[in-house]
Symmetry: C2
Subunit: 249 residues, 2 copies
DNA sequence: CGTAGCTTTGATGTAGGTCAAGAAATGTGG
DNA sequence: CCACATTTCTTGACCTACATCAAAGCTACG
């Protein structure tokens, strides 16, 4: 029975992701299965997590996309990151007393709930899991850092190109894209809020990239016309995403 | 002997910092003392960590300031964060195979070296330490996220004010500042590279803030003339930094 | 006491914002 | 399967926040 469970967990995107960092034993996998009990659906428009909430829960995305963001008094918002299937979401809201950000579905979402107790208990049972989660959190931080460089020092065009390439690299890791392109449910408004630009300007940048024969962002699809030129243009270096093979044997 | 050691560690800024997240047992403190063996000095101008390096080590800052940054091909750089005494530095360079960023002293620095083995060994011995480090890393990520919001959606003035206030809050936690002000060894160039602005513009913003009677940034000192007005101007909310008392009993 | 790194200021240029308005999609109820 | 509503996309005209360039005064320290 627990064997069946373990196998099932092993096939989940989350287990696959953590396995990239730390080799997980059967015991680890069984402990992880406790994190997988409550499946929940979220429709678009309702926050999965909102700033200031005290319920300490997080989710592992099973299907659909979400975005985490912060609102400013001025009414503008900054999207910090998008979450794709397999991503952990809201870790800081479990770890801290109150959530410091919002998370909203971008498409209808299916996710497994992880409570504070689940997480702490499983850390107690299998310390390696804590290390694996630390690793996963650090990879996420590496992405946020790269995003910060985008906003601080790259032009609108470089930034947009870089962002589309990063998404491809992430999606490829979970089998949802390749260097030809991927399905992308983001609106230009979402893109604008992520890249710190206006929706109008994003539109112009996308047109330019399309007319230059580099990428097409249309009808929910990103298609790379010239992947290599795009990499060159944006200075994209996927090193910060790749860590082939478990780091902790 | 090990008792003396433990007490010494308990007094270190690093132990104080982690204790804010997780109550540490004597055993935990002894395990931590292993992380404190090698003290090293760094002069200005030599990187403590550089992008692509394979030696997997990190440091805990004992005294002085440092900054972590990324360089772009264009020659411009983005400072991701400053480290002040007590801060962990280069965690991602221990955890990953190669460092994805640089760290440079801003002043002469005294730091304790932490190697990959040290860290993994101590996690094995005391799982709570792994959890504590996860927490500390998450707090750091919260700061990077707020910095990202700065770059994406705040004006140069708001951004600068926000940044100066955040530094105050962090320095206050280690007893190096209060709402009157603090000693700040940063040049306007460093400020510019952190805030994604040009040094010239930073200078103008600082002048404006000074002439408005809000803050003075001069001669290595930040002095708040009107703390509350500055908070209002920048929309600063210190919640993301405060987590009074251990979260894990 | 000189020279190299900071800070300050002015003049001018430009990337990207804002406003406005029409055209395509997309969705919804009948 | 169509009519209407709503969101999303696209483009043009104009404007502003910040960059860049240039040059002069500071400071500090070898």
């Amino acid at each position: 029975m627990s064997q069946r469970k373990a196998l099932k967990v092993q096939d989940s995107p989350f287990a696959r992701k953590l396995s990239a960092f730390v080799r997980l034993s059967d015991g680890d996998l069984v402990a992880m299965s406790d994190l997988y009990r409550r499946r929940r659906k979220f429709a678009m428009g309702i926050d999965m997590i909102h700033q200031g909430q005290v319920e300490r829960n997080a989710y592992v995305l099973a299907s659909g996309w979400a975005c985490s963001y912060k609102m400013l008094r001025s009414g503008s918002r900054q999207i910090v990151d998008f979450q794709i299937p397999g991503d952990f979401l809201g870790l800081r809201s479990v770890l801290f007393r109150t959530a410091d950000h919002n998370v909203e579905p971008v498409t209808p979402v299916l996710a497994s709930e992880v409570t504070y107790r689940d997480l702490i208990d499983s850390f107690g049972k299998t310390p390696r899991l804590a290390t694996a989660v630390l690793w996963a959190a650090s990879r996420d931080e590496a992405m946020v850092v790269e995003h910060l460089v985008d906003l601080g020092r790259r032009s609108a065009t470089e930034r947009t190109a870089h962002f589309l390439l990063e998404l491809e690299a992430r999606l490829r890791l979970v089998g949802l894209g390749d260097r030809k392109g991927y399905a992308c449910p983001l609106s230009q408004y979402l893109l604008a809020d992520a890249l710190g630009l206006s929706a109008v300007h994003i539109n112009r940048v996308l047109r330019e990239l399309r007319e230059e024969g580099l990428v097409t962002f249309q009808k929910g699809n990103v298609t790379f016309e010239d992947y290599d030129a795009l990499v060159k243009l944006s200075g994209f270096d996927r090193d910060y995403l790749d860590h082939d093979g478990p780091l902790l044997p």
